[in-house]
Amino acid sequence: MSDPREAARDASLSALGTRPPFYRDATVVRWIAQVGTLILVLAAMWFLATEAGDSLRARGANIDFDFISDYIGIQVGSGIDTNPDSGGRALWVGMVNTIRMAAAGIALASVIGVLVGLARLSSNWPLRRLAGVYVEALRNIPLLVQILVYAAVLATLPNVSFGMGPISGWIHVSNKGLSIPRVFVADGFYQWAVIMLIGAVVARITYRRLAEQREQTGAQTNAGAWATGIVAVFAIVGWWVHPIFGWLGSPLGSLADGVGAIPQGVVQLIAALAALAVAVWWIRRFLAQHRTPAGLTRLTDDDWFRMIFAVVAAAIVVLFVTVLWPGLSSWVVNSSSDGLGVLADKFGNGRTGPPIDAMRPDIVQPGNFANYGPAGLNLSIGFAAVYFGVVFYTAAFIAEIVRGGILAVPKGQSEAAQAVGLRRSTALRRVILPQALRVILPPVGNQYLNLTKNTSLAIAVGYSDLVQIGQTVYNQTGKTLQVMAVWMLFYLACSLTISAVVNFFNIRMRIVER
């Protein structure tokens, strides 16, 4: 009985059923560490934010978003509007340019990437090597260097002159870039868009009906054709009748006024209630998961901490919107009112023109040198350099992903396809690719994201994407932080959109698989 183990044993036996002190309780210690870290992070952010606020105030700059609606007098090199009437408009031009570049880039990069990826697996030796050289050369040189090389090479194209080609009056190529016919959103577009929306709803309902009918009767109902046809009819008829929706302007305008008139307190209340509602919903769901059939809910300490933390987090949010940053709610109110106002302006009885219009490019000579006129869609050398840069660079990565995905399909699959007599190309299209796609899609989605983010390198060659315009805007107005917030939100939104689309297809493919 002199064994120390025995002594310890007797000591702990006497402590049976009691709670350990908090500093020895695993759950409590873990939560202290977590909450401590959280407080540390929040405090650091708080310190930095107040410091930034002080510095800005010392420089006479306020954290407001007025520049979005104020005239700031900047010129944009290219885009839907080269003389934007406000900072917000300028940033919008940049966003459109970025989206345009990203969308066009994704399309071309996918095509080139898949082709090169397939070529890398070709049985033909020169083709395989050529594709290999392409991939190894492009993905090992920094994208920025490539963009600068393209820009430098394109700068050696001839100057602008009248009657230049390749197809004068339609396509012009020079060291000022490319000029092609411009298709643009005109007067009646938003009214027409409403009609298209209605058309889409009608088409969807029809499609559902017909599809159901086919399932029940087995008759061929051509649901897809009908739906397309309906949308087409709405589009064509709407082209002329869209002014009938001109009246939408005034209700939207009054809605804007109404939103603008909402008192700040109400918004704060709504936000606070929303935060609380989320917390309550989360806790209810949590409890429901822990309800045993006997109706008895067993919760560990950890569970209790989680629920308490949810409540505390909600309380902090409430405190934040009501006390710490009351300006937020009025800002939300004002900007949504402004947004609705802008939308209201897009409607009106005066707007009777076609929804979409087009113009051919022209060449003008204001001074000594000829230049592209404003009529055409002018894509600068900068655009071309960035575009080729991101497309060729991303395509190299996509090619590697495609190659890996195809190699990941078990060899037995292609053998089986050959065994049932499919030709090589059919086997690839019908058997290999559908399976490879599941491996390929997620990393390719990542590449699409990278491409979108990489378009921001346009700043190096002076193409007016969001980052470049944003930099001009904050150099002009000093609203650096605000512009950076806009950047962040925009790129995060792009990331989320692309992830959502990729996920959608991923899930669909999984369902198809079953």
Binding site: A8, D10, A15, R19, V29
Partner: protein, 263 residues
């Protein structure tokens, strides 16, 4: 010797000699939920020092869950588990103690693939028991001797057969000099010819006086080695008894059904 009623406390000793020994593992009304699924309900049992208990039961009956609760790989939600006088609670100190009192052997061996056999065994003695390296290596070598593979010390787990890996796993657990050993289906992932080498090691261990709790489907082992057999189903203890009683005159219908299927 007496048969026990199926319900109530399964701790009532099977023999007077056993009853006189100290308690090693005490479970009182242990409940365990996974979300809204109850994996253990009202488990009560006492395992005595140097006792060999075999737990039987159909798949999904909660055997692994119970055994994992005993060294706190899972936390039970209500009831008490007391191992060698230490109650399993959230107390960091107790968890530390329990882990070095209780050795565990897994169905899938779970050896550390990036360490040699020797390092697998000496890691915990050095870093938890705070032994010096030569001391730990000496212990490891004697343990490898004991489980019959002294020559494999420098190899990696991936280079060993399943039976050898499981014996290394036993040596690794023994290196902590535990008071109790838990085995969760130690032979289920093995080819038949390797099962015996592992069972031999376990038998030797049992003879040396180790307290053991073994989940297994090896009925031969249960019959030969066990002091007691606990039969579980759907998270409850259905029947407890000596091997003789259990295999010849089980009291419960469910036990009979189970035995008719496995024997």
């Amino acid at each position: 010797m007496s048969t026990q009623p199926a319900h109530g406390d399964a701790t009532i000793a099977v023999s007077d000699e056993l009853a006189a020994r100290d308690d090693m593992i005490v479970c009182r009304e242990v409940d365990k939920w996974f979300g809204d699924f109850q994996a253990l309900s009202g488990i009560s049992a006492t395992i005595k020092e140097q006792e060999i208990v075999v737990v039987l039961g159909p798949s999904g009956s909660g055997k692994s869950t119970w055994i994992r609760c005993i060294n706190r790989l899972e936390a039970h939600q209500s009831g008490q588990i007391i191992v060698d006088g230490i109650e399993l609670t959230n107390d960091l100190r107790n968890i530390e103690k329990i882990r070095s009192e209780v050795g565990m052997v897994f169905q899938q061996f779970n050896l550390f693939p990036h360490l040699t056999v020797l390092d697998n065994i000496t890691l915990a003695p050095i870093w938890v028991r705070k032994k010096s390296r030569p001391e730990a290596e000496e212990l490891a070598e004697s343990l490898l001797e004991r489980v019959g593979i002294p020559e494999q010390a420098q190899k990696f787990p991936g280079q060993l057969s399943g039976g050898q890996q499981q014996r290394v796993a036993i040596a690794r657990a023994l290196a902590m000099e535990p008071r109790v050993m838990l085995f969760d289906e130690p032979t289920s992932a093995l080819d038949p010819e390797m099962i015996k080498e592992v069972l031999d090691v376990m038998e030797e261990l049992a003879r040396s006086g180790m307290t053991m709790m073994v989940v297994t489907h090896e009925m031969g082992f249960a019959r030969e080695v066990a002091d007691r057999i606990i039969f579980m189903e759907e998270g409850e203890i259905v029947e407890v008894g000596t091997p003789h009683h259990f295999f010849t005159e089980p009291a419960e219908e469910r036990t009979k059904l189970f035995l008719s299927q496995v024997l």
